[in-house]
Symmetry: D2
Subunit: 316 residues, 4 copies
Amino acid sequence: MKYRIEHDTMGEVRVLADALYGAQTQRAIENFPISGLRFPRAFLRSLGLIKSAAATVNGKLGELPADLAKAISEAADEVASGAHDAQFAVDIFQTGSGTSTNMNANEVIGRIAKAHPNDQVNRGQSSNDVFPTALHLSAALLVTGELLPAMRGLNAALAAKAAEFHDVIKIGRTHLQDAVPMRLGQELSGYARQVELAAQRVEAALPGIYEMPLGGTAVGTGLNAPPGFAAQVIAELARSVGLPLREAVNHFEAQGSKDAVCFLSGALRNYAVALYKIGNDIRWLGAGPRCGIAELRIPESQPGSSIMPGKPVQIA
Amino acid sequence: MKYRIEHDTMGEVRVLADALYGAQTQRAIENFPISGLRFPRAFLRSLGLIKSAAATVNGKLGELPADLAKAISEAADEVASGAHDAQFAVDIFQTGSGTSTNMNANEVIGRIAKAHPNDQVNRGQSSNDVFPTALHLSAALLVTGELLPAMRGLNAALAAKAAEFHDVIKIGRTHLQDAVPMRLGQELSGYARQVELAAQRVEAALPGIYEMPLGGTAVGTGLNAPPGFAAQVIAELARSVGLPLREAVNHFEAQGSKDAVCFLSGALRNYAVALYKIGNDIRWLGAGPRCGIAELRIPESQPGSSIMPGKPVQIA
Amino acid sequence: MKYRIEHDTMGEVRVLADALYGAQTQRAIENFPISGLRFPRAFLRSLGLIKSAAATVNGKLGELPADLAKAISEAADEVASGAHDAQFAVDIFQTGSGTSTNMNANEVIGRIAKAHPNDQVNRGQSSNDVFPTALHLSAALLVTGELLPAMRGLNAALAAKAAEFHDVIKIGRTHLQDAVPMRLGQELSGYARQVELAAQRVEAALPGIYEMPLGGTAVGTGLNAPPGFAAQVIAELARSVGLPLREAVNHFEAQGSKDAVCFLSGALRNYAVALYKIGNDIRWLGAGPRCGIAELRIPESQPGSSIMPGKPVQIA
Amino acid sequence: MKYRIEHDTMGEVRVLADALYGAQTQRAIENFPISGLRFPRAFLRSLGLIKSAAATVNGKLGELPADLAKAISEAADEVASGAHDAQFAVDIFQTGSGTSTNMNANEVIGRIAKAHPNDQVNRGQSSNDVFPTALHLSAALLVTGELLPAMRGLNAALAAKAAEFHDVIKIGRTHLQDAVPMRLGQELSGYARQVELAAQRVEAALPGIYEMPLGGTAVGTGLNAPPGFAAQVIAELARSVGLPLREAVNHFEAQGSKDAVCFLSGALRNYAVALYKIGNDIRWLGAGPRCGIAELRIPESQPGSSIMPGKPVQIA
């Protein structure tokens, strides 16, 4: 393989000749050979969107020449689109601030746009505000774009089954012992309601996620960012993704804690607990066919045994 | 000690002569010698309030004679007041449904009011709806009566310190390394905002807690409860505690899952994480006096050493 | 109530007139109104045993006059016996080092023995080595005296059932679906083996628990403890409880980490996971009687319903 | 892309023309589009080793013709070597038993060796014993081959630093407050001992990991496996990897629980807790350079800021 020599404040680094990243990314690749896990698509999309919006606003504010701002923005859009995912080769277990991956983005975009990674691509930004902003933005994109629609779909499917099975009378159990009769549709309506409530709880966590730490720069004071910079970048982001993003009320909280993410994690845990209960119930109600409860017949999805090849398995 | 003989569906049981509880409570005391932990005050208060409101409504609906309903309600109010806490001697680790403690309440109230524990005190109810209702109600009482006021008090105290220390310039740190200047007031304002947001998140979990499972009886169908019973009991409860309690939208969800409590637990965890961060910061900022960071001087609360008696300790 | 005035390095404190504890305990009672939980019996027994052994060794080494050493040892034995548990009124959530409860013991013993809490009862000791030593000792006493015998009893009971049910052929299940035949005795033998292995794992955690931090005093260096003091105290403790206790190999590890306890917690978690699996299996195999799996008939323990009074409950 | 048609008990499946896997793998790829995570190298190595040893023993026992046994064994060795990792395309979140990945291995090996996946490659085996055996074997290989050597290396490095810094006197702290002097070497010796003990605890979990579930087949009874098959396969495996592997004492425990893995997880957690404490201490002791504790100077690893480019970061 062929290499080129790059430089940073600590000296020379050897980088693959055709890599778009530079010295700091290379150091981080070597410093963190930990998990093999890379940042997921939604995060890299968010990082690209932030860099693009920041360049656009830097151009408007006269912080960068218009053509350079445009070049940075376009290169960042390429990162957002996924065209350069392979260039993000730093492990997710790295510096706590995410400096390495922020610099990875700065270096890749800088090389494409012929801009300086720190002074121009990263202008008005710090890893300490960009990174949690990308974290919030990618969570917002995944929750609104994938999770909530899937939850609504599951809720609708369970509600449809509840209606379909309204007339099926079955035993209701307490302590797993036979108790009194109920409808199978009622049981399923309870699952549907669990999912509906879980979705409301995930939504209750979104306002905190929409608060963007951007604008605090290194320690929350906004040092090195021009007045109004963050508000304009966030407005640009909100427009481009169609979500009610807004600047954090307090930048010291927004950078110093990850509480909004912690609360979202609590809402996701709540959904996981609900799914576990529903899945476990269905699994047991489908146990059989002859020596189990066998109240539900679950469609066969694939052969279910290597030693008893005719035995199918249902995927609840 | 002197004993009397009580009976239940399984036969004779020996009970302390002056105990207010009866056979089923006694069996449960013997069956669950597990942790030594007892139900806390707020739970017993809630259980008493539910029994009292249920008796009142049973009287109104003609399910119980007026004088008996009144006697049960008054006895239940005594339980709610804490007068009989010592009679609740069953371990908190017991039957999953809480049947033992529900029957404990029924027996104690029944003995005081000269009413039948199952047919009259428990009329229209099941452990399976009473118990999660008591769980929700006690959580609602503690959160609104104690936790949220304490959170608002802490928020105000931190905000006051933020104002007081506005003019103190200090180092801001990233990766625990010296970075750029900031105000001590700004740091404290971040803590205040963390607590403010944590309170909002706890409040976001309350609507689910206000949904009362009462009315589902054994398995959610409401078997054995007269029409409108639960709605009236819950309205009575809401009036007596001054909280917007309402009947669960779906009783199968309300009894079959504890998701609302799980979500509240996520909100409490979020607050715990915030407090841990704030407490840990203050502890480190107060480390010293001569060989630590020593940015904060924390008032001395008590002698802090058994081997170095003059050494005080601060309680952050 | 009547009070007396006590003093410590911070000044005057008002204490209940007949309390055996003094000023520092009183301050801690007031400073930590947190959980209402108190140290359990095994911990207070351990704390008393340590104080008694320390006094005996201080007497032998000439650090204390013989009659005072004897008086302290006898008073500490009273604490160990449980005679003064009500005097230990400080919440378990307190100073991280346990200084408050160590001083509580020093004050109670000192008052009974007419000895100085710090200079004489606590002689050669620090909260920082006494407290983790009491933690290890109480864990060792509970694990060897209660947990392991109970595990062996459960193992034997399951093994007996495995033999008893050797001839019962039942369905074996995979994915909860009917698979191929097996013996009920085989299933139970698997549970017995789980418990046997769990006991071996708990035993594997004991050597670390037997390592006593005592001797490190404040920060691990042993400052203020006479040479050989800890080794003799630990030998005295080992003799009195009949366990192979030994001095920690490295006092900085022994005081600076709680890893031995963490590992024991892992072994207990492993047993909890095993019990959960066994209990859950038995619960499901006993589901019925007519609409469940009903492979096992579990003896009835108590009435199991408040709304269906004839319905019993089994306790797996 | 070109496809071929494969068959299983449920009918036709379209598979990529050059895939080594067959119908069941393809169904599982489609049924589980969950995490994107694939089984790691050590697991696939273990699965290949088991299949190879099983074929060798099947040949010796006359269960398979000698040349076919040899062909299967050689193909399985290729899987073990990593040559076909890309053919293992089923998500790690799949059927609970791992049937899909076991069949993936059977299909890949069967295609290379021209053998039937179920009747010949999987002969004498079930997913239910192969999969937990592969889990144990891969854990044994990683723990003995990578983790324990790394732990010993860290212990040695810390012990060397403890010796190097023996003469450095520093403050010892209690409650993060200045207390009494100690040596920096003593502090580091405590860390070294933590790592030494953590390694002993990981080793204490290995005997359970060395117990191989192989031989139980579908539900623990060993149905369809010839007498002595598992013992010989495990002996072959033990020889090839140089570890004291042995057949499980009780196959119902070995397949019905994952307790041995749970206990190893407890030992790993213990090490994680130790590393967290050590890392956190070092991070704080290195805080500075001018406004922190700054007792340690940690070598610079890479530039540590995007907004303050000259600011280096240390990796503790």
